[in-house]
Symmetry: C2
DNA sequence: GTCTATAGTACGATAGAC
DNA sequence: GTCTATCGTACTATAGAC
């Protein structure tokens, strides 16, 4: 066990990279600073990783894979479209608040990927979009969701739930669960106060 | 008039900066490349702008001001909360598709701002959020919108409508107007197919 | 596995001629 | 207002000792 709680120097380096890439951006984060936080010299990083780009790839690949696995699990676990959507939203927001910096990097540093690696990471992102679109399409076909453009709906949901990683503060005004509840209601029911809505969840009915 | 259609070298330089900042990111876009696109040498940029950072500031300030002015106009022009929201969404998406690269830079290069200038740009962004929150709060108090967390609702709307700038292609599958219509319905009515909804706009009723 | 030393390159910015 | 030439700096990455 290392002083920073990581179990290997390789992990310490990656953790430092996550922190600095998220704070300053990939190009503005010098390897010397990553090394200093990890407690070694810049040259020593090259014993663990072939170059700076490899750090970015490992961060993006690792967490996009985790995100996909977690959504696949939701789709396998549940069948009801509305419950699936509820769980997918909760899963997305939980992942993006728990691994805030990692997903912020995925969201903002796609341009920093060199061309050879970009296609791979984009394919992982496309896979996630496809899974969510499958969920939405199924819900529309089964008459639970309104007929609408599936791609636009998936982009909208992903954009709003991803951006939580930008402003969420673990000790802020709202808990993760409160954020999830608000987003669920907003996505499923919209903003309009519509008399006669029958799907109002009990947990929010008191607000009326 | 210059060969690129800009009316001054100052504008040509800024247009080149917009293009390269959006494509590669602020730190990865060399002044030499900006100069080449503008048709001059890198050193000549310094006759028009004091430094590279000034280019970023001018882009962000100009378009955040335009965005605020346009939303203020919507709030002055309309009174009905639902119509205000419709117009605000349309305005946001129109601005973000028309000035796609400029707003993409505002959205992704906040970290590249040096500390002295960051506060100013953030205050412009905060102003925009406050205007939208005022619209939402008013709509809730007047019983048109559901009671919900105004800040979360504003973040969600801004995030989803801003991200359009990332994927929208002028000659793509969907027109700007189709995107606006889809987003409006999604934001106002949500995904759920709820029997008994009374506020279904005529323009989308045929989808059912 | 980590170090020191440094190669090699690219960048932002300046000086000064025209 | 634009040029050429170049300064000073900072960065990624490598070489080679320990």
């Amino acid at each position: 066990m290392r002083p920073d709680g990581r179990s290997s120097m390789r992990e310490s380096i990656l953790a430092a990279a996550v922190h600095l890439f998220a704070q300053y951006g990939y190009h503005a984060a010098p390897l010397r600073d990553i090394a200093r936080i990890a407690g070694i010299q810049a040259a020593s990083i090259y014993h663990h990783y072939p170059n700076k780009q490899a750090l970015l790839i490992e961060i993006m690949e690792t967490y996009m894979l985790r995100l996909n696995v977690s959504l696949e699990h939701v789709l396998k676990e549940f069948d009801d479209p509305l419950q699936r959507l509820h769980e997918a939203i909760a899963n997305h927001i939980r992942m993006h608040t728990t691994y805030k910096e990692e997903f912020f990097i995925i969201d903002t540093e796609m341009r920093a990927l060199e061309e050879e690696h970009k296609a791979h990471i984009i394919s992982l992102r496309d896979k996630y979009e496809a899974l969510l679109q499958e969920l939405l399409q199924d819900g529309m076909e089964r008459g639970v969701f309104r007929q609408s453009d599936v791609k636009i709906a998936s982009y909208a949901i992903i954009a709003m739930c991803t951006e939580v990683a930008t402003w969420f503060r673990p000790n802020g005004r709202l808990s993760v669960q409160q954020v999830i509840t608000s987003y669920r209601q907003f996505i499923v029911e919209g903003l309009l106060l519509t008399p006669g809505v029958t799907h109002m969840p009990d947990e929010t009915a008191h607000l009326l």
